[in-house]
């Protein structure tokens, strides 16, 4: 039983099933994307409960508006990530603005910096989870396992040249997290990153 449902097909079928009002499809959607959604929301908001709340909002939005996803615009995964990102940043902005108002200050520069930092961090997470596995594995070895690039090459069974290429390419992809939306990841409307 190989995975017959390659993403585009799975995405299309999922949308149809959600539109049909199949509760079982909602469960499957959750099983596939909950950790992505919760992880991104947590990276932006830094709070477990707030991340739970965003997770609820994201799935409710998809369940109530399945037709707002257009499979032609790109994978469901990036559409869900974009939605999560938008809702989480919105929530952060609201809570931070409220906190500023309470302090009687209106340091909007600081607010914008904070929102941007959180937003970039979440985009970076998304990029790492979505980049091709060989690139991600190379970065993980070099960064988290502290392997130098020759050791990384040996671990992966590739040439030193290839290891250098993967590390550089991986970081180049990751650095696009700094690019302001919508060119950064995830794209604004289910674009094709």
């Amino acid at each position: 039983m190989a995975r017959r449902d390659t993403p585009p097909r799975w995405d299309r079928k999922m949308q149809q099933r959600l539109a049909r009002g199949e509760a079982a499809a909602l469960g499957e959607l959750y099983d596939r994307f909950a950790s992505l959604v919760h992880g991104l929301a947590h990276r932006v908001l830094g709070d477990e409960q707030a991340a739970d709340g965003i997770t609820r909002e994201v799935f409710a939005h998809v369940w109530e508006n399945p037709e707002s996803y257009d499979p032609k615009q790109g994978p469901l995964r990036s559409w869900v990530a974009t939605l999560t990102h938008r809702l989480a940043v919105q929530r952060l902005r609201t809570t931070e603005t409220a906190a500023l108002a309470q302090d009687g200050t209106d340091d909007t520069d600081e607010l914008e910096r904070k929102v941007r930092r959180a937003s970039v961090a979440a985009r970076a997470d998304y990029i790492v989870t979505s980049m091709p596995t060989p690139l991600r594995t190379a970065l993980e070895l070099a960064y988290f396992q502290r392997r130098d690039y020759r050791q990384t090459a040996a671990d992966l069974g590739v040439t030193a040249d290839e290891a250098r290429r993967r590390l550089r390419l991986g970081l180049q992809l990751l650095s696009t997290a700094h690019d302001a939306a919508p060119s950064g990841t995830p794209p604004e409307q289910g674009g094709t990153r």
């Binding site: 009002g21 909602l26 919760h38 989870t129 690039y149 590390l167 970081l171």
Partner: protein, 409 residues
């Protein structure tokens, strides 16, 4: 030492005749084993540029690092990229290891379904299976390749004594896949078992699956197991709540679909617990509502288990064997199941069709809900199970043994 003479080292030589006039060639540095003084590495722009990623991650040799840094002073393009890549390194975080609270799934799905009621709901008797398979899948998500081969001992009670069978984490998932397959077959879905078993019992099917595999199961069994569990939930949702009475044959007995799905939820939880123990992860009991439904299934299965034991000569004959007509009140035992998901039941002791009767209660047993499930899973022996008991000792013993005999591989 004659510090007045700058060449004193020659003059002070105690035995000048031993020193050769012409020094021997000095030993090569390469042969001394001492670190070589490194000449600065000269690399071309193309090579240095390719090193930028490794450099940003501090994954180059010291010489390469020095060469790159030297180059950055004079090459604007590389300096820009280097800065960008260094900043990117700052964005690498260890993946969020926060485990999702399994209860969040139920809360999120309920919130969604109350906002837009489903046209095709999942029958309430299938939600424990949906929740337990999702919980187990989340556990599997977290375990490493090697842990899939961690040894697990499947334990059950064969009627007389505890028994067990050795397998691995992946073997347990294969077991769940093949036994869930009984429900799949009853619903007209594909049988995960390609070579038929001698008898279509859970144990025979599992053994057949293990035997047919050329290699011990690996983590690759997770995909088919999860796909089948999603398909089961989806299919029973389409079949509707009324499909709950559909018979699911287990070889030696059968269960209506609604009980079969509960039984599979129960088994999924029990084996998830076995896996969690094997890989040293914590694992919580099911949600109270689901736990209650599982205990209720066990309680409902007790009368016929008791009768089967009696017929096999493993339990004391009832007071009036075969004489209590169906529907007539008979001697009864009251298990009081404590804790979340608990409750009280009344088990007729004399015949499966007899009516349980509070007036004819002959014994009372108090047990924790999870403990009762461990007993019914064959993980706790009947002698060790009861927390508190009063009344007819023999009846209590028979019921506890009957509960243990509900377990199987």
């Amino acid at each position: 030492m004659n510090s007045a003479n700058p060449f004193g080292e020659y003059d002070d030589d105690p035995d000048p005749h031993n020193a050769p006039r012409i020094p021997v060639p000095r030993t090569s540095m390469e042969d001394t084993g001492l670190p070589l003084p490194t000449p600065p590495l000269i690399l071309e722009h193309r090579v240095l540029k390719a090193l930028l990623g490794a450099w940003a991650l501090a994954a180059c040799s010291p010489e390469e690092t020095a060469a790159v840094e030297d180059h950055l002073g004079g090459c604007g393009a590389c300096a820009d990229e280097a800065l960008r890549l260094r900043e990117a390194v700052g964005l690498l975080h260890p993946p969020e290891t926060l485990d999702l609270d399994p209860a969040l799934r139920t809360r999120v799905l309920q919130a969604c379904l109350s906002r837009r009621p489903p046209r095709i709901p999942v029958p309430s008797w299938a939600t424990p299976y949906d929740a337990e398979t999702a919980r187990l899948d989340a556990l599997l998500q977290d375990i490493g390749d090697a842990e899939w081969h961690a040894p697990v001992r499947l334990r059950w009670f064969d009627g007389k004594e505890p028994t067990s069978r050795r397998t691995t984490v992946a073997g347990v998932i294969a077991h769940l896949l093949t036994v869930d397959g009984l429900v799949a077959v009853a619903l007209g879905l594909d049988d995960p078992l390609e070579t038929p078993a001698d008898t279509p019992t859970p144990a025979a099917r599992t053994e057949a699956f293990w035997r047919a595999a050329h290699f011990p199961p690996t983590r690759s069994v997770r995909g088919p197991w999860r796909e089948q569990s999603h398909n089961l939930v989806r299919t029973v949702a389409f079949a509707g709540g009324g499909s709950g009475r559909l018979p699911v044959p287990y070889g030696e007995f059968e269960l209506p679909l609604r009980d079969s799905m509960l039984d599979r939820a129960f088994e999924t939880w029990v084996h998830a617990g076995d896996i969690a123990d094997a890989v040293d992860y914590p694992y919580e009991p099911p949600a109270p509502r689901h736990l209650h439904a599982m205990i209720d299934l066990g309680a409902r299965m007790l009368p016929s288990a008791l009768t089967a034991r009696r017929q096999a000569g493993l339990a004391a004959p009832g007071e009036t064997p075969h004489l209590v007509p169906a529907g007539a009140p008979g001697r009864s035992l009251r298990p009081e199941i404590e804790g979340l998901g608990g409750g009280e039941w009344l088990i007729p002791l004399d015949a499966p069709g007899a009516l349980a009767s509070a007036d004819r209660e002959v014994a009372h047993v108090a047990l924790d809900g999870v403990e009762f499930c461990q007993l019914a899973a064959g993980h706790v022996s009947p002698e060790e199970a009861a927390a508190g008991q009063s009344g007819d000792r023999e009846a209590i013993r028979d019921v506890l043994f009957a509960a243990a005999s509900l377990s199987r591989m």
